[in-house]
Symmetry: C2
């Protein structure tokens, strides 16, 4: 087993660079921290490239055959995003695989979602609702950002997630007869008027500006959630939860 | 108009203490920051005790008759919770008024909700769903915490919110024939089996342990949201959104 105790080790510097989107994209890797996320990553064969354990931490279940490096608490602190890391982390491989678009029945499409917590929570909710995939259009925050990973609580490893221009994905779904619903505050129907669907794609949009008009023009129909009180809007992740569970039935 | 430019002014020290729960409770006051929250506070007559404006900021609409103090950017920075405050803040009066419990039809009851973002988002969602009140049981994070206020986006000023032991509130609702639903992962019915209700109360619980068993034993029935994928749970605020809009119909 490899051991790294110095924060000056070149490997530590490389891991640390995974805190930036640029280097994550270059390397095709991202880092997850903590027992729960590492366990979820290990359940998906071939996803973990290297397991990093602070001395004294037990080897997690499912790590047979995975490269293991023992690191010092100082090294963990240097590479982790959290203030008090749990002592276990994993270097994971990005795996953006769009083939399910040709066969799946339920999808969440995201247009320029900016808040990491919202994105992570929507990935988690899409997983809970049994969707077949999450498609990230232009302008979304990086899904491999540590805050997104924490909010999603392991759902990155449960369903396919990939980047694709949304008009392209929508055209592919339309060819297969999967209805695409936008979400909007104007020129839209109350969601309760739409029945549960055997298959569907739902588009959720940017926190400030919503789904772009260019996309809303290409949907089967656009839904809104009535506001019965005095609030001006719902949080986008809450709206996604309400609509996904309604459409799923 | 009063002017305060020094962060050493005793009044500034008093405002600064509103960052702590203890002093908020002692004084019965809390501070909101930023244009949107201040405007929402001003819409509710008698709620703002003092408006604080950095020099050069326009006086917000609805502030006629409200005590106004001009402060320096340094004073604003000292009393604000955000890194880059917007230049307007308001000292507001807590107003916990439970009389709607005797007449309202729809309530959200919260048992030991700990995360400020979750609490704020649930208050915002309760407002959107047109509920008549939000009742905070034991162990909830302080609703006047700045993070809760930000997440709720002004809904604190849109619907009554108060602290009350939940068994007491549940007994009062039961006497009026308002059905109380718990949310739970075990010994519960899928929420889709329950019809929309003309009146209801929904209990949401702690992020880790859920609604306490003692409360679940006293409900009309307990609901769960089926998990169709591999995620182990939903975020509590997402679950609240799905259940509130379902029960409302």
């Amino acid at each position: 087993m490899r051991q790294i105790t110095s924060t000056q080790n070149p490997q530590v510097k490389a891991w640390k660079k995974l805190q930036t989107r640029k280097y994550r994209q270059q390397s095709g890797q991202f880092l997850v921290e903590g027992h729960h996320l590492v366990e979820e990553a290990l359940k998906q064969a071939g996803r973990v490239e290297e397991l990093l354990l602070v001395e004294g931490q037990p080897v997690p279940a499912g790590s047979a055959g995975v490269a293991l490096t023992q690191i010092s608490p100082e090294v963990m602190k240097a590479i982790a995003d959290t203030e008090t890391p749990q002592g276990v982390a994993a270097i994971c491989k990005m795996q953006e695989e769009a083939t399910v678009l040709a066969s799946g029945q339920r999808f969440l499409l995201l247009d320029a979602v900016q808040d990491p917590g919202n994105l992570g929570t929507m990935i988690r909710t899409a997983d809970a609702a049994g969707l077949d995939g999450v498609i990230l259009g232009e302008g979304c925050v990086d899904p491999y950002n540590p805050k997104v990973l924490r909010s999603a609580q392991g759902s990155h490893f449960h369903l396919p997630l990939w980047h694709q221009p949304l008009p392209e994905a929508m055209a592919a779904l339309a060819r297969r007869g999967v209805p695409v619903f936008g979400s909007a505050l104007r020129k839209a129907v109350p969601f309760q008027q739409i029945q549960a669907q055997p298959g569907f794609a739902l588009i959720m949009g940017n926190e400030g500006s919503g789904v772009s008009d260019a996309l809303l023009d290409q949907t089967q129909s656009n839904l809104f959630i009535p506001l019965y009180g005095q609030s001006e809007s719902l949080n986008v992740a809450i709206a996604a939860g309400i609509l996904l569970y309604h459409l799923r039935g």
